[in-house]
Symmetry: C2
């Protein structure tokens, strides 16, 4: 298990996400975000050269390796929120993503000495090395051995 | 079709979202966010009194009526991002949500007179009238009749 003290500002973790097929883009979008850019290949291609994944689909795919590989290792008390989520470039069919996670701040709680907030920035790049999505998010982690302190 | 000019700061739209069953919470979480609070009923109940939906699931469900009912009416050029997304309270099984959308700013583009940014705040409340999630998000909309201007 990893506690708040097991991280340092500047630590970087790398993951891979996607790709999604055109069919997966349309299937997700029909349920959650049925806009023409996500469900109508002709319309999307005329405007943007291809179908484009819903921003929500991009978000959950970018987080898939983080929630599957990192989160279960953490002494995690819960996610707090997301700031400055930006969809900067389209996510197109069949493009794998490189995901970079960087720790940006570590703040022990003043009121509750057994915990603190780990904030990290996430950046996803397409195969042309363009950043397609960025965000910052925080998670409440337990601190080590605070019972004995 | 609704253009940037069809909205005013302070306009409010109301929607309903969810509920999700315990089974739906676990099914979503196994794919996207397999933390014990979302997939292990005993663990989650001991800590929080019930299973808790993943924040990502809460997000897509809150936006489901917005993407299905509002977005297709808009002269929408694309979503820009999300700020100050906060998960304030657990979303529990079988709780329908009231979703309130309020327009917070309308900013015509300086460089591109055919478009502008509509920013709105979203708030979701559970049946006990507790706010469980808030966020702010922006969308780029076309302006009316700018070709003739």
């Amino acid at each position: 298990v990893k506690y708040l003290e097991d991280f340092a500002v500047g630590d970087v973790l790398n993951y891979e996400a996607g790709p999604v097929s055109s069919e997966e883009i349309m299937t997700f979008a029909r349920e959650w975000d049925p806009q023409r850019l996500h469900i109508d290949p002709e319309y999307a291609s005329a405007l943007h050269g291809s179908l484009i994944a819903s921003g929500f689909q991009t978000l959950v795919h970018v987080f898939r390796p983080i929630t599957h590989d990192l989160m279960p290792q953490l002494a995690n008390l819960g996610g707090l929120g997301v700031d400055e989520l930006r969809w900067l470039q389209p996510w197109r069919p069949d493009e794998p993503l490189k995901v970079k996670l960087e720790i940006t701040s570590i703040t022990p709680s003043r009121s509750k000495p057994d915990r603190g907030v780990l904030v990290y920035r996430v950046e996803a790049r397409n195969p042309r090395d363009e950043v397609i999505m960025t965000l910052e998010t925080g998670v409440m982690l337990k601190r080590k051995g605070t019972a004995a302190a």
